[in-house]
C-alpha cells in the first residue's frame, strides 16, 4: 500500500537544495523589464498621459498607454473553466490597459525598458491627467442611490443578486414563544500573501507567444490571453514551473495578458513582468470582504423555527470571480443548520477597492465566521451549551443537498467535535473559565464548517492524465491539476503507484505544466486536485496496466486474467511467481523487432459528482483586557476529508490553513484611505501576516471516513482548514469576556472599541 503513507514529497529534495526553479529563476537575465503605471486615483477617467519626459530616460524601449491600445478586447479574468453557454460565462470587463479607472492602482500605462531602474524612472516620469470621481469602499454604501458609479453597465453597482427561499419565513416567525436573535457580522479584505509575488515573462517563437507564468491555471490562462489579445488560443503556449504559493490569487489572470501584449509591442522580444509586493496587495486579487445580517427565530427547545440571511459581498472594482463567492457563502447557510423556513439574499457589489477574486475557502471562511459566531450568540441568548446546540441542529447524518447531491454519509460533525472536545479538555476548561473577573481572562470556543470538493455541478469538472512507461519500468505521469505547493504531485505519485502496482520511486510526476505538453486540465482550485485527478489517474493507470499486461501475455503466454503488477514486477497471481520485472517488459516492448510498442496511455475523465468535506476548530484564547489583545494559547483543527493519501502532507496542509485562519481572525486586514481608495498597508510590514511568534503549536487531527464517490476515498482538504478558525477564536473571546465581537480581525483597535462599549475598560 502506497496510499495512506507519509512519504516524503517528490519535490522536497529540489526545494531544500535550491534546485527547484521558479519563474524568475528560469528567465534569461537579458530580458526587457516591464513596469506598470498604476492610477493614483480610485475612480475616474484618464484624460491624458504625457510621455515626453519618460521617453527621454535612457534605456526606455517602449511606452504604451491606455490610449495606444486600439483594439479593445474585453476579457474575463476568473480562473473558471470556460463555458460555451454565453449565459454562464464570466463577466468580461477588463482591458490590458484602461482609460476608465475603477480602483487606486488600475493599470493605465506600461513601460518596457532595458533594466528595472530605467523602467521605474520612466513610470515615475509619466504625467497623467485625470478626471476624478468620488470613491465608494463599502458594498452597502455602494448600493445607495447617490453612490458613485463604477461600471456603466451596472447602474446600481450590484454585479448580481441571488436568493434562496424555503418554506415561509414571514409566517414561521409569527409562531408563539420564539426568541429572536439578530446580528451583523463583518469580515475584512485580506490578501493571499504567497511569498512569491506574481511574475511572468513572454517571448515569441515560431509565430506563437510563449508565456512562462507563476499561475495555478495554465490551461485557463492560455484561453484568457487569447481572449485579451484577440489571438487564436492555439498560438499561445503557457508554461508553469514551480510556483511559490497561490492560494487563489493565481487562480485568476493577473498580468499574463498585459505581459503578452507588451511582448507583441516590442517585436516579440523577451519581456519580464515581475510584480512587486506593493502591487500584489493593491493590484492583484483579495478575499471578498463581506457583511452578513442574520436573524434567527428559536423555539424554546433550542430548534430553529425561521432564519433570514443577507450577504453583502465587496467585489472591488472588477468582476473577476464575481458572484460565485457570495453565492457559495449563502449556499452554506441553509445546509449547515437546516431549517424549514429560510430566506437568503446575497448581493455582490462593485466598489473601488482592490478586485476580489478567489481565495482559499472561496467565501466559506467569511460564512463560517458569520454563521458560527451567530450560533454562539444564539447559545448565549438561549443559555444553551454550544456543543449540545450544534449536535442538535447541525446538518445530520444522511442529509442530502438537492442541488449538489452531496450527502453527509457518516456522522462526521459529531465525530470531529468529539475529537476536538477530548484534545482540548473542553468541558473541564469551560467550567474553569466561568466567572473570571481579572484583567487577563481565558476562554474556549469552537466552530464547524462544511466545504465542497471541486465545482460540479456549477461548472465543468474534468481531468486528463497521461502516463508513459519508460524502459526501466518507471512511469511518467502528467495531469492538468497543478502542483502549487500543496503537495499534489506527491499525492499523484502515490495514486499512480497504487493503481499500477509500482514502487513509489518508480513514478515520476512531471511537475512543470506546459499547455503544449500537459494534457488538458483546469488547474489548482476548489480543493479539487486529489479528488478530480484521482479519477483520471485511476482510469489512465488502468488503461496503462491493461496495455502492459497485454504485452506481458504476449511475452509469457499467460492469460491476462492471471497477471498483475506487484511492486514493479509482472506477477502470475495464481501462484505469486514473478514472471518478469516491468523494466524487462518495457525494454523488450520498446526495442522489439517483432512487435515494438511505446506503452503509454491517456484519458479524460469527466466528473459529475461532488463531496462534502467536514471539520471543526477549537481554540483557547487569552484576552488581556486593558491591552485589548487576544492571544491564541491552544488550537486544533479536526477534519474529515475522507481517506488521507499522505497523512504528513495532509497535516501540513491543515497547519497552513489554520495559520491563515488565525491571521484572518486576529490581525490581517487591508486598510483603505476613505478619500482616495488607496491601500494604506500594501506591504508585509503593515499588513499583519502571522509570524513565527504569533501562533501557539498548531494541532491537526482527522476522522477518516472514506468518501464513497471518490476514486481513492479522498475529498477536499486544501481550503477547508482556513474556514473555521476565526469564528472559533471569536467564540473563545466571547467565552472569556462575555463580549461578542462581530467584526474581524479582532485586532486591538476593534477590541478597544468593543471593550469600551461594554464598560470593561
Amino acid at each position: 500500500m502506497v496510499i495512506g503513507k507519509s512519504l516524503p514529497r517528490v519535490d522536497a529534495a529540489d526545494k531544500v537544495t535550491g534546485r527547484a526553479k521558479y519563474t524568475d529563476d528560469l528567465c534569461d537575465k537579458g530580458a526587457l523589464i516591464a513596469k506598470i503605471c498604476h492610477s493614483t486615483i480610485g475612480n475616474g477617467i484618464v484624460k491624458s498621459i504625457d510621455t515626453t519626459e519618460a521617453e527621454k530616460i535612457p534605456g526606455v524601449v517602449k511606452i504604451v498607454t491606455c490610449f495606444d491600445v486600439k483594439e479593445k478586447h474585453y476579457f474575463p479574468t476568473a480562473g473558471h473553466p470556460w463555458s460555451t453557454d454565453p449565459g454562464h460565462q464570466d463577466v468580461a470587463d477588463r482591458l490590458v490597459l484602461t482609460e476608465r479607472v475603477r480602483f487606486y492602482g488600475d493599470d493605465i500605462a506600461a513601460v518596457v525598458a532595458e533594466d528595472e531602474v530605467a523602467a521605474t524612472r520612466a513610470v515615475r516620469a509619466l504625467k497623467v491627467e485625470y478626471e476624478e470621481y468620488p470613491v465608494v469602499l463599502d458594498p452597502v454604501e455602494a448600493m445607495k442611490e447617490d453612490a458613485p458609479r463604477i461600471h456603466e453597465a451596472y447602474p446600481d453597482n450590484v454585479l448580481k443578486h441571488t436568493s434562496i427561499r424555503k418554506g415561509n419565513y414571514e409566517e414561521a416567525c409569527k409562531e408563539e414563544g420564539l426568541t429572536k436573535v439578530e446580528g451583523w457580522y463583518e469580515t475584512p479584505t485580506v490578501q493571499h500573501s504567497h511569498i512569491e509575488n506574481f511574475i511572468c515573462y513572454c517571448y515569441e517563437e515560431a509565430g506563437r507567444l510563449n508565456l512562462v507564468a507563476s499561475t495555478q491555471i495554465p490551461h485557463i490562462i492560455r484561453r484568457i490571453v487569447g481572449q485579451a489579445l484577440g489571438m487564436d488560443w492555439g498560438r499561445i503556449r503557457i508554461i508553469k514551473p514551480y510556483i511559490g504559493g497561490g492560494f487563489g490569487n493565481k487562480q485568476d489572470a493577473l498580468y499574463e495578458p498585459l505581459c503578452a501584449y507588451l511582448c507583441t509591442q516590442v517585436g516579440g522580444r523577451l519581456v519580464k513582468l515581475d510584480v512587486s509586493r506593493e502591487e500584489t496587495f493593491a493590484c492583484n486579487r483579495v478575499r471578498h470582504a463581506m457583511k452578513f445580517h442574520i436573524i434567527s427565530y428559536l423555539r424554546p427547545d433550542g430548534s430553529y423555527a425561521a432564519r433570514k440571511l443577507e450577504v453583502y459581498s465587496n467585489q472591488g472594482a472588477y468582476a473577476s470571480h464575481g458572484h460565485s463567492i457570495a453565492a457559495k457563502a449563502m449556499g452554506a447557510f441553509p445546509q449547515l443548520y437546516p431549517c424549514d423556513n429560510v430566506e437568503c439574499d446575497a448581493y455582490t457589489v462593485f466598489t473601488n477597492r482592490t478586485v476580489a477574486g478567489a481565495m482559499r475557502g472561496y467565501g466559506m471562511p467569511q460564512a463560517s465566521f458569520a454563521y458560527e459566531s451567530h450560533t454562539d450568540d444564539v447559545c448565549k441568548v438561549m443559555g444553551l451549551d454550544p456543543i449540545a446546540f450544534r449536535r442538535k441542529n447541525l446538518m445530520p447524518a444522511g442529509y442530502v443537498d438537492g442541488f449538489s447531491k452531496n450527502e453527509n454519509y457518516f456522522d462526521s460533525f459529531n465525530q470531529c467535535m468529539d475529537k476536538g472536545i477530548e484534545v482540548m479538555d473542553y468541558y473541564r476548561k469551560k467550567e474553569e473559565f466561568k466567572n473570571q473577573s481579572g484583567d487577563i481572562r481565558r476562554g474556549i470556543g469552537m466552530s464547524v464548517f462544511w466545504y465542497n470538493t471541486a465545482v460540479w455541478p456549477i461548472s465543468l469538472e474534468t481531468s486528463s492524465c497521461r502516463m508513459v512507461l519508460n524502459q526501466d519500468g518507471s512511469v511518467q505521469v502528467q495531469v492538468g491539476e497543478t502542483e502549487i505547493g500543496q503537495g499534489a504531485d506527491t499525492a499523484y505519485a502515490q495514486m499512480t503507484a497504487e493503481v499500477l502496482g509500482l514502487p513509489f520511486k518508480m513514478v515520476h510526476v512531471v511537475t512543470t505544466q506546459d499547455t503544449d505538453l500537459t494534457p488538458f486540465g483546469t488547474g489548482a482550485y476548489a480543493s479539487r486536485q486529489t479528488y478530480t485527478a484521482g479519477f483520471s489517474i485511476r482510469q489512465t493507470g488502468q488503461l496503462l496496466k491493461e496495455r502492459i499486461l497485454q504485452y506481458a501475455h504476449r511475452l509469457s503466454r499467460m492469460p491476462e486474467c492471471n497477471l498483475d503488477i506487484v511492486d514493479g514486477n509482472v506477477v502470475r497471481i495464481t501462484d505469486g511467481r514473478v514472471l518478469m520485472a516491468l523494466g524487462e517488459l518495457a525494454t523488450e516492448a520498446l526495442y522489439s523487432l517483432e512487435d515494438s510498442q511505446h506503452i503509454t496511455s491517456e484519458s479524460t475523465y469527466q466528473i459529475k459528482s461532488n463531496a462534502y468535506s467536514f471539520g471543526c476548530c477549537f481554540a483557547e484564547v487569552e484576552v488581556d483586557i486593558p491591552f485589548c489583545r487576544a492571544e491564541v494559547k491552544k488550537i486544533i483543527n479536526v477534519h474529515d476529508c475522507g481517506r488521507l493519501i499522505n497523512p504528513a502532507l495532509a497535516e501540513a496542509q491543515v497547519h497552513g490553513g489554520m495559520s491563515m485562519g488565525i491571521g484572518f481572525g486576529l490581525t490581517e486586514t487591508m486598510l483603505y484611505d476613505p478619500k482616495t481608495a488607496r491601500v494604506l498597508n500594501n506591504n508585509l510590514l503593515d499588513y499583519k501576516l502571522s509570524t513565527f511568534m504569533d501562533h501557539p503549536r498548531l494541532e491537526a487531527d482527522f476522522v477518516e471516513n472514506p468518501e464513497p464517490t471518490s476514486a481513492f476515498g479522498t475529498k477536499a482538504l486544501g481550503e477547508p482548514p482556513a474556514c473555521p478558525v476565526a469564528s472559533a477564536i471569536r467564540n473563545a473571546v466571547l467565552d472569556a469576556t462575555g463580549v461578542s465581537v462581530n467584526q474581524i480581525p479582532l485586532r486591538p483597535a476593534v477590541l478597544f472599541e468593543r471593550f469600551k462599549e461594554e464598560g470593561l475598560i
Binding site: 522536497a12 529540489d14 535550491g18 521558479y22 511569498i195 515581475d274 491563515m660 501562533h695
Partner: protein
C-alpha cells in the same frame, strides 16, 4: 545619462573565492542571482520583510535584498547552494526539512535554511520560545511554521546529542 559606476567585488561564496565587477546599484540578491546564478536566493518583498533572500554573511543571517553587493567585499557568503556535502549529500537540516514535511511551495525554504544554519552553528540549545524568535524573520504562508519548527528543533537536539 550619468556614467554607470562599477566596482570589483572579491568575496568567498560557499567556500570559493570569487571576483566580479558589480554595478554599485546592485543588491547582494542581484549579484548572487544574476552574476552567480545562485537562484536559491529568492525575492519576496525586496525590503527585508519576508526573509526569502536570507544568506549568511560571515556566519550571520542577513536579508540580501537590503544589502549592497559592494559591501560583500572581503566577506564570506553562504547560500543554500553551499549546504551539500562533498559527495552531494544533503546536510542534516535539509534532510530534516524533508522528513518533517517542512517544505510546501518551497519559496521561503532556502531563506529559512540559512537562518536555521546560523542557529545550529551556534551550538546553543535554545528553548522553544527562543527558537521561534530566532526564526521570526521569515514569513511563510504555507506551513503555519509548525513543521519548520519541528525540523529545526530536531536538528538542534540531534547536533547536541540530545536525541
Amino acid at each position: 545619462m550619468e556614467g554607470k559606476q562599477y566596482q570589483l567585488v572579491t568575496c568567498t561564496i560557499n567556500g570559493k573565492e570569487t571576483q566580479t565587477m558589480v554595478d554599485v546599484r546592485a543588491s547582494l540578491t542581484d549579484m548572487l542571482r544574476n552574476d552567480y546564478r545562485m537562484t536559491s536566493v529568492k525575492k519576496g518583498c525586496e525590503v527585508g520583510e519576508c526573509g526569502a533572500c536570507t544568506v549568511l554573511i560571515d556566519g550571520e543571517a542577513y536579508n540580501s535584498c537590503i544589502y549592497l553587493a559592494v559591501w560583500a567585499e572581503g566577506k564570506r557568503i553562504t547560500t543554500v547552494e553551499g549546504l551539500l556535502g562533498p559527495n552531494g549529500e544533503l546536510s542534516d537540516i535539509q534532510q530534516a526539512f524533508i522528513d518533517e514535511a517542512a517544505v510546501q511551495c518551497g519559496f521561503c525554504t532556502p531563506g529559512f535554511l540559512m537562518t536555521a544554519l546560523e542557529i545550529l552553528d551556534s551550538g546553543i540549545e535554545y528553548s522553544d520560545e527562543e527558537l521561534r524568535k530566532l526564526l521570526s524573520g521569515h514569513l511563510c504562508r504555507c506551513t503555519g511554521y509548525e513543521n519548520i519548527f519541528r525540523a529545526v528543533k530536531k536538528t538542534m537536539l540531534q547536533r547536541l546529542g540530545r536525541i
